[in-house]
């Protein structure tokens, strides 16, 4: 099996495309079976990405391409870039990669998106199967927060049932307008579990300005679509796993009042959530705005986590906007089942992030030998925390997988996995999958 991967950077998308074709696609003998293409968002215009994809499809001779935009992209052999692209090319019989599927209305109707994944998953009867999909990411425009102010009113606290519905309508409207959170991904995962899909890995495309995000399928560039494929093989096994930086657990708090439908937390520790959140992290409003204002007021270093039926801690991001009394939390509706929910705070650090990446990669290789390739979906928040030390994280992944194993890392706006039917929708985490030969257990028999 031939797998090539490369990263290039250039101010012009045309030049970056030309270089990546030369470095990655031309290195494959003949037409690649499949390409995973990730560009950074700085090129901005949809037409630019359409031109680049058309060029890649034309030069490679295949339209089996999926991808999207991510604030940072990296491959095993190169330093990460925030101004360029990474491509991974596949050719060979060991792994069958299905032609890409896409569904363009995934924010509004995630179940239909899940159906696309399920149909492709069921279409192959190979021993090992893994669904891989990319979705639109968080996409808050300035006026999005204005719409949420209604959830602060006296009536919203008094008439919970009604305002749960209103919250859902607001979220749906956000979806229609092309922005919102990525909570729909949790619905996709839950639907996949019900439909018998065992393993999947996904990530959300994102531009850190939260103004646009694009997904690629063949030559097409979409703005609110799910794109994906299925990796399957009779010879190789696929392992997928996830983790996050749990090294600095600081304190607990309670979500005491909230609206399930919109993940809108009205009170933390029985106090207005916005004020209580700043108190918990011990930061003034001004300092918080300066630090996180450019990131749609999403807390970056301070990660909260909830326990669910599958994991001890599943992290979520809190958006603490100055015009709101509450806090928007990226918590799926089903996790907000009680009245008083305990959450834990974790402070993120560069070293902790590196260690968790190593831990994830190390878990992935268990039971596998002769690894062929790896794909990692890493949170873009982790990219911002690590800064130029982010390459150390990839070095540690390389150390775990082995020097010659090609891998690609996409820095996303939401990460999700289905690990043996266990759905994980999390934030500020790293998810990955690797393909390799299963280790044969030989027993010593003594006669």
């Amino acid at each position: 099996m031939q797998i090539t991967a490369g990263t290039t950077s250039h101010r012009s998308i045309n030049q970056a495309t030309k270089t990546i074709i030369k470095d990655v696609i031309d290195n494959i003998n003949g037409t690649p079976d499949f390409l995973l293409v990730a560009f950074t968002p700085n090129y901005q215009s949809k037409e630019d990405y359409e031109y680049a994809l058309a060029k890649i499809c034309e030069e490679s001779g295949t339209k089996n391409v999926i991808g999207g935009i991510f604030p940072g992209v990296a491959t095993s052999n190169e330093l990460p870039t925030t101004q360029g692209c990474s491509v991974m090319g596949f050719k060979g019989d060991e792994v069958q990669i299905q032609p890409p599927f896409d569904y363009t209305n995934v924010r509004i109707n995630p179940k239909k998106g899940a159906q696309e994944i399920k149909n492709a998953y069921k279409a192959t009867d190979k021993l090992s199967k893994l669904g891989f999909f990319l979705t639109p990411g968080p996409f808050y425009q300035t006026d999005a927060f204005e719409q949420l102010k209604v959830l602060d009113t006296f009536f919203a606290k008094k008439f919970k049932k009604m305002f749960n519905l209103i919250g859902r309508i607001i979220n749906k409207n956000m979806g229609k307008n092309g922005y919102g959170s990525t909570l729909f991904a949790d619905t996709i995962l839950k639907t996949l579990v019900e439909d018998g899909v065992k393993n999947a890995l996904g990530g959300a495309t994102i531009d850190l300005d939260m103004e646009k995000c694009y997904q690629f399928s063949g030559e097409n560039v979409f703005q609110n679509a799910l794109v994906g494929t299925i990796f399957s093989s009779d010879k190789l096994s696929f392992n997928n796993n996830w983790t996050f930086d749990k090294s600095q657990h600081s304190r607990n708090f309670f979500l005491t009042e909230f609206l399930k439908s919109s993940g809108y937390v009205q009170k933390i520790n029985k106090k207005p959530a916005n004020e209580a959140f700043l108190e918990l992290i011990d930061i003034s409003r001004d300092l918080y705005d300066e630090a996180f204002g450019k990131l749609s007021y999403a807390s970056l270093l301070y990660l909260s986590a909830l326990e669910n039926e599958y994991e001890d801690y599943v992290p979520f991001v809190s958006v603490c906007h100055p015009i709101l009394d509450g806090v928007i939390a990226t918590v799926p509706e089903k996790s907000l089942c009680n009245d008083n929910i305990k959450a834990d705070f974790f402070t993120q650090s560069g070293t902790g992030i590196q260690k968790s990446a190593f831990e994830c990669a190390n878990n992935l290789i268990q039971g596998l030998t002769d690894l062929r390739f790896g794909i990692f979906i890493n949170c873009s928040n982790r990219l911002l925390i690590a800064g130029d030390k982010i390459d150390k994280e990839n070095k540690l992944i390389e150390q775990a997988l082995g020097e010659d194993v090609p891998f690609i890392t996409l820095y996303s706006g939401g990460e999700f996995s289905l690990i043996n039917q266990k759905p994980i929708y999390s934030a500020v985490s790293i998810h990955g999958f690797v393909a390799g030969e299963p280790t044969v257990n030989t027993k010593n028999v003594v006669f």
Binding site: T82, Q83, L208, L383, D388
Partner: protein
């Protein structure tokens, strides 16, 4: 492509990043090897460039003696990022204070490695 054209192209890439105003490759004695500016540059920016030119020797000495790869300063409403390229050159990026320093430093690290290959 000559090595100086290659370096110039890499420096130009940096000023296409959001909020980056200028990028320069300094020799540690303060001489400019190559530089690239945004089309609309201000007097204030030029004053900051002068400060960089005057102080790069001192900064590089400090970086070398303390084994630092990267140093960031905030002055005159600008953010100045020094990144070691090799023992005699330093990559410098000037950006306005709204710049996302994490993203800039990732790209500056990549550029410094590419530039080191040219030298």
């Amino acid at each position: 492509m000559s090595y100086i054209q290659g370096i110039s192209s890499e420096l130009e890439d940096l000023i296409f990043l959001e909020d980056v105003e200028a990028s320069m490759l300094f020799r540690i004695d303060g001489n400019v090897v190559e530089s690239c500016f945004n089309k609309k540059y201000s007097q204030e920016l030029l004053r900051t460039v002068q400060w960089c030119k005057a102080n790069v020797e001192k900064v590089s000495l400090e970086m070398r003696s303390n084994n630092l790869n990267k140093v960031t300063y905030e002055l005159n409403e600008f953010c100045v990022l020094f990144f070691v390229v090799n023992s005699i050159t330093i990559l410098t990026a000037l950006a306005n204070q709204n710049v996302n320093l994490s993203l800039l430093s990732i790209e500056a690290k990549r550029k410094s490695q590419i530039i080191a290959n040219y030298l």
